[in-house]
């Protein structure tokens, strides 16, 4: 489906490569390097070995029986990316790109991070492969994700606070790109399926292991494919990684869950399809949150990882095609999902993933008990306990 595009890096009209000229040669070099490893079996063998020995793949598939009983409807299965090393799906991409960077002879890695999960994954991979690591993070995100900041530093990464703009993920990406413009020999390890070509394609490829595993696991566990797949969508890497293997089955419905934040007025959420429009941000033409002058709007979500003004370009195409439905879950619903999964299943989800859980809880009762919902539990919630305790009025 995604192969019928006009030129590489385009998803229908979306995607492209809107970057300063200084970066054009670095991006061209990256495109060539990725194309070279794509057909190189030794690269994928090396990656597969580390996926098993370092990340701990395959991650489990869990039948959430008590949550299912509570909702009263479809059977809910969880793809357990929270069990991946460093606690989220981000490591899949960080490891893939880290190996690519190593093959390209890169010694210094730049990354941005929102919730801190991509930063932690990148720091871990850099420690594994012996590369220098600089992570840009908005100071507001540093405040709400302190444990992850400390993790990155423990693993030898330098975390640089970003004070410009809204001091969140978008500004961390700006700062990472400025670093890359200044140091084009460094490798920019972008953490989601967004930005200029080849990132949306490459990140999707490295994340598609999620859907590949879930595909055979759900057949083994339930004897058939799911009726509905749900994943949260910030930039869109865990969701595209989950969706991709299933896109060819038209009978499988899919829902991408965006952050509804406090309310659906501009500046209070990160629901790009519900409240956004088409435009260019940070390398891609896609749906973005902006005002009528084309200035990028600030966003809000209780989860730092969904708090971003643009969505990956492949999602923009899937949205327009009607292949995936995009819905939103607000802060309060996400907190309900967070607590429900913790209490009923003994699994504390990341606040990002709690958006997908909350949507599953909303939809499951409308479905029959012989139907199956597959939810991508993209990360674990240890990083979020301080901010959740804060909201719940508990002092730790």
């Amino acid at each position: 489906m995604t192969n019928h595009t006009e030129r590489p890096g385009m998803f229908g009209p979306y995607g492209g490569s809107y970057i300063p000229e200084t970066l054009a040669p670095s991006v061209a070099h990256l495109i060539a390097a990725y194309a070279a490893v794509k057909d190189d079996k030794s690269f994928w063998d090396e990656l597969a070995a580390l996926q098993a020995s370092f990340i701990g793949r395959p991650t489990a598939l869990t039948h959430a029986k008590r949550l299912t009983a509570q909702c009263g409807g479809a059977q809910i299965y969880l793809k357990r990316e929270d069990l991946a090393h460093t606690g989220a799906h981000k490591i899949n991409n960080a490891l893939g790109q880290g190996l690519l960077a190593k093959r390209m002879g890169k010694k210094r890695i730049i990354a941005e991070t929102g919730a801190g999960q991509h930063g932690v994954a990148t720091a871990s991979v850099c420690a594994l492969l012996g590369m220098e690591c600089v992570v840009y993070m908005g100071v507001d995100d540093i405040e709400r994700q302190k444990p992850n900041v400390f993790r990155m530093r423990l693993m030898g990464a330098e975390v640089r606070g970003v004070t410009s703009g809204s001091r969140t993920l978008k500004d961390a990406i700006n700062e990472a790109m400025r670093d890359w413009v200044s140091n084009p020999d460094s490798y920019y390890l972008l953490g989601s399926a967004l930005g200029p070509h080849p990132y949306p394609t490459m990140v999707r490829d490295f994340q598609s292991i999620i859907g590949c595993e879930a595909h055979y696991q759900i057949i083994a566990a339930a004897g058939r494919l799911p009726d509905l797949i749900i994943a949260c969508v910030g930039g869109g890497s865990n969701s595209i990684g989950m969706f991709h293997s299933f896109l060819e089955y038209p009978g499988i419905k899919m829902r991408g869950v965006e952050a509804g934040g406090r309310s659906i007025t501009l500046g209070n959420h990160a629901a790009r399809f519900e409240g956004g429009s088409k435009g260019v941000l940070q390398g891609s033409y896609t749906y973005i949150l902006q005002n009528s002058d084309g200035q990028i709007s600030s966003t809000h979500s209780i989860s730092a990882g969904l708090d971003y003004a643009a969505i990956g370009p492949e999602h923009a195409m899937l949205h327009d095609q009607g292949r995936v439905s995009y819905v939103s879950i607000d802060d309060e619903q996400a907190l309900d999902g967070f607590q429900a999964l913790s209490k009923l299943e003994g699994i504390i989800p990341a606040l990002e993933s709690a958006h997908a859980i909350a949507d599953a809880m909303r939809v499951a009762p409308t479905m029959a008990p012989d139907q199956i919902i597959l939810v991508n539990l993209s990360g674990r919630g240890d990083k979020d306990i301080f901010s959740v305790a804060d909201v719940l009025g508990v002092s730790l």
């Binding site: 000229e21 400025r178 200044s182």
Partner: protein, 263 residues
Amino acid sequence: MRTIQQTFARLKSEQRGALMPYLMVGYPELHSLEEYALALQDAGADLFEIGVPFSDPLADGATIQRASEVALQNGVNVGFAIASVATLRKQGVHVPLVMMGYYNPFLQYGLARFAQDAAAAGVSGVIVPDLPPEEAGPFQQVLKLQGIDFIMFLAPTTPDARIKQIVSVASGFVYCVSLTGVTGARSELWDGLAGFIQRARSFTDLPLVVGFGISTPNHVRTVAQCADGAIVASALINIIDKTPAGERTTKLVEYMQSLRPNI
């Protein structure tokens, strides 16, 4: 009103290089541009780069980022920038005015509508730092129809084959980025600059104008030895920032006059 081409032709006949100050629309006050431009033209500005603020200027350093935030708070948008250019023309600013801004605000304004309105206001060229030639087609086309030059960038990292490709579709002048990095005043120019400009020169007769990091008379003199013009941006903003409101025009003029003999 002179075109970019006429301007460089005249400068060439006078054996001078172009001095091109950058002013951001709406910085530090909404109508500041209209206070400064005519005086700077009289002080020797050969062209102006008129900055249109964007919320996420990823090719810019701290100085222009901050100026952008202020200009946006002051209420600047693309429509206002076009109206400001029209005002400058009425005031008697006749040198080429080249609008510089990131792609999304132009895209939301409407590319064809922008080209029409900008041409009517007297915009001579457009510079878009996040629009490489691969993506520039639609905008370049509508600008061309209105006689507005789309200015292309070359960077020190641009390989020869790509330089060739870029200059073959460039018009007006070519913006040569003086260093591998973001905008912002720096104490030293990159020592590879002359070699880079020479390399670019071997592929084109278009005027080569150098920008990024140029702030002192010495820098301007060095640039003049190898290129056809120099852009001064963050240094002007720094002067505005450290000067009391009533004296800014005078200080900017003095600064321009200190650069002028060197190019």
